[in-house]
């Protein structure tokens, strides 16, 4: 969700996030239970149609789908080997790979067409019946901060790795772990202070 959202005005973009989450869940279940390659091909065609409807080129999902292919490079041969190299084994392995690709492409479409704010609002809507026990705003803030902190920590790690190289300590785990931990804690403290300043500790 970090910087992947592609602005648009399509039906997919405008649909409520909660509805999209429900549709996503239903399609995921269907993808999971399908055992016929033809039906799976139909689901793949549906995914392509949804991308077209959203006006998002399927290649935009590549950064999320790409890493899955590496897993499949190992998982498919293992699946075939487990099945004794039979034709059924190849079919099962093909189905498994297809299911995974369709599922990731669907999830990517949700990410590409939905803002974090919309997701937070959906969370708050889901949690509304439990408001006596759960503060939906706090949960929303927690999710937002978690998403926000990923690039922040990644930047800290990048800078520490650079500093470690500059000091010729590439092999030292301590020279990576200690500064990353200390700087992350300082950053957490500073973010907490900034949140308080923005009136978010009410």
């Amino acid at each position: 969700m970090i910087g992947l959202y592609r602005p648009g005005t399509s039906l997919v973009h405008r649909a409520p996030a909660l509805l999209k989450l429900v549709v996503l869940a239903v399609l995921m279940v269907l993808v999971g239970v399908v055992a016929d390659p033809v039906l799976l091909a139909g689901e793949f065609a549906l995914v392509l149609a949804l991308y077209a409807l959203a006006g998002i080129p399927p290649l935009a999902a590549w950064p999320q789908i790409g890493p899955i292919l590496w897993i499949l490079v190992f998982a498919v041969p293992v699946q075939v080997l487990v099945a004794g190299g039979s034709a059924d084994g190849w079919t099962t392995a093909g189905l498994m790979a297809g299911r995974l690709l369709v599922a990731v492409a669907l999830a990517a479409l949700f990410t590409l067409s939905t803002t974090v704010t919309a997701v937070l609002e959906a969370f708050q809507l889901i949690l509304r019946p439990f408001r006596r026990w759960v503060d939906a705003d706090r949960v929303g803030l927690l999710v937002a901060l978690t998403i926000r902190c990923i690039p922040l920590v990644a930047e800290i790690v990048r800078e520490v790795l650079e500093a470690r190289r500059a000091r010729g300590a590439q092999a030292s785990v301590t020279a990576l772990a200690v500064p990353v931990l200390v700087r992350s804690l300082y950053a957490a403290d500073a973010i907490g202070e900034a949140l308080a300043a923005r009136g978010l500790d009410d």
Binding site: M1, I2, G3, Y5, P7, T115, V116, T117, D137, L141, A144, L145, I147, R148, P151, L152, E155, A187, A190, I191, E193, A194, L195, A196, A197, R198, G199, L200, D202
Partner: protein, 228 residues
């Protein structure tokens, strides 16, 4: 006695053997006030007290009659705070969402949030960057975003703690120009004396005490002689 403005009365803070602030009495009513001092002089602590981020151990700080210790929530609606590192201030992934985030916490309806967010983005030249990931902005753009996210809430006072320290000369001029142009009361803590051009008053802090408090030329001369 007027309640308008910021008032420090007998404020001391920190451990007895190493106090951060000692016996501060100030009334801040001017529109543009600069606070300068060496590292560790206590100027940032002083600025944080205006927003209630730090509460005084002795004495009182009031903002428009509100006590920062007892009425911190109300004080923070009056006082917007800009930090040195805008990265710590950005909560949401995109520019537009971060500006809107402040308003969402105020319980405003969606239409008003959208209108006020669009207005703030336009005012700070961020409209074209509205959907850009906030963490990928340049330093100057991030500080602009931090300023927009603070001002969209409509504070009457803006406190900025070394807002130009991480910026280049061009962005320093940009942020300084914006701070000076604000209609709000602006209090800037800085090491960059050029930022204080056109300010009404400058306070010099040294070892937790106010050692000069005057018009900028007089106070800055005192500060420079302190550094010499």
């Amino acid at each position: 006695m007027t309640t308008a403005g910021i008032r420090f009365e007998g404020v001391s803070h920190g451990f007895d053997e190493n106090p951060v602030l000692r016996g501060i009495d100030l009334q801040l009513t001017e529109r543009r006030i600069g606070i300068v001092g060496a590292n560790g002089s206590g100027k940032s602590t002083l600025a944080r007290m205006i927003n209630g981020l730090v509460t005084p151990e002795r004495g009182t700080v009031t903002v428009n009659g509100l006590d920062v210790k007892r009425q911190a929530k109300l004080v923070r609606r009056e006082v917007g705070f800009i930090f040195t590192n805008p990265d710590n201030q950005i909560v949401m992934p995109t520019v537009q969402e971060d500006v809107a985030f402040t308003l969402r916490r105020r319980g405003l309806d969606a239409a008003e949030i959208a209108a006020r967010t669009a207005e703030a983005l336009d005012r700070f030249g961020l409209t074209a960057l509205a959907d850009r990931p906030a963490h990928r902005l340049s330093g100057g753009q991030k500080q602009l975003l931090a300023l927009a996210a603070v001002l969209v809430a409509g504070p009457s006072i803006v406190v900025a703690d070394e807002p130009t320290t991480l910026l280049d000369a061009r962005n320093t001029r940009l942020i300084t120009g914006l701070l000076v142009s604000l209609t709000q009361q602006v209090i800037v803590v800085t090491h960059d004396l050029e930022v204080l051009d056109g300010f009404d008053r400058v306070i010099v802090i040294d070892e937790g005490r106010v050692v000069a408090d005057d018009l900028p030329p007089v106070a800055l001369a005192a500060y420079l002689s302190l550094l010499a």
